[in-house]
């Protein structure tokens, strides 16, 4: 099911959408939809990685926010060179527990 959503955009931005849509042989609306879907996925991933790096959430929770399987999320972290969120202090605590 689809719903209508109205957006007010700058004329220049609309022009950019129209130009790109022509190049991609798409209508303007399809292009905007495509970019929105991609942008939303990227934004979810950015938020998940940010919260994970700041140790606000666990790796599994981050994968859930990113709407990725844990295999995919671990692979993304590795590709982006994001280090494990465990610190030296964490390891010291574990070993002395």
């Amino acid at each position: 099911m689809t719903k209508q959503m109205n957006l007010r955009l700058d004329e220049d931005l609309i022009k950019e959408f129209e130009d790109l849509a022509k190049h991609e042989n798409l209508d303007r609306s399809s292009l905007v939809k495509k970019i929105l879907i991609k942008g939303l996925q990227q934004e979810r991933l950015n938020l998940a990685v940010q919260k994970y790096v700041l140790k606000e959430i666990s790796i599994e929770k981050a994968a859930e926010i990113a709407k990725l399987s844990l295999h995919e999320f671990i692979s993304k972290l590795s590709q982006l060179g994001i280090p494990s969120n465990l610190s030296l202090e964490d390891f010291r605590k574990i070993i002395s527990s």
Binding site: S58, E60, H71, S75, L77, F91, S97
Partner: protein, 173 residues
């Protein structure tokens, strides 16, 4: 026999460095139902998921049969991580997790968690792998987890301590 209850991220890392088959040498390998689901999702896209699925079939990894009641509700943890901690509380298990939030929750419950790096040290301590193998496995793990240099140095020193203790022990006998 010790019960080691793994969460999904630790098992994925240990699968990537091809050490998972040796895990039963340290204790029974247990996972929660949600962790099992996470591990074998994406079976068509990730070879690790395929390997893990066959380990369930061969009983190298065992799914916990405990009835879980979601005893704590942390919004910062995933379901698998919460279940892992709950199983450990109920069955005196040792949680294995590579996550900051999960480790700290486990410590707050009085558990003694391990990480995949510590599992590697346990392999070395128990003569399951030798020092050269430790170095090779650890190098791979450090790469996959993008470990920071202070952590790499810490574990290299810990491994050397274990080797020296062993040499000292052999010298005494």
């Amino acid at each position: 026999m010790k019960k080691l209850v793994y969460d999904a991220c630790s098992l994925i890392y240990l699968t990537k460095i091809q050490l998972k088959e040796k895990l039963p040498l340290l204790g029974t390998v247990i996972v929660s139902p949600s962790v099992k689901n996470e591990l074998i999702t994406d079976i068509n896209s990730f070879s690790d998921a395929k390997t893990l699925k066959s380990n369930f079939d061969n009983k190298i990894i065992n799914e916990s049969k405990l009835k879980l009641k979601n005893i704590f509700s942390s919004e910062y943890l995933g379901r698998g991580e919460k279940e892992t901690i709950e199983i450990c509380i109920k069955s005196e298990g040792i949680p294995v997790t590579d996550d900051h939030q999960a480790i700290n929750n486990a410590l707050n419950f009085g558990l003694k968690p391990k990480t995949s790096e510590i599992i590697l040290l346990d392999f070395l301590r128990n003569n399951i792998i030798n020092y050269q193998e430790f170095k090779a496995f650890f190098k791979e793990l450090a790469l996959i987890k993008s470990l920071k240099s202070d952590i790499i140095l810490f574990f290299k020193n810990k491994a050397k301590e274990i080797v020296n203790e062993k040499k000292k022990f052999q010298g005494e006998n």
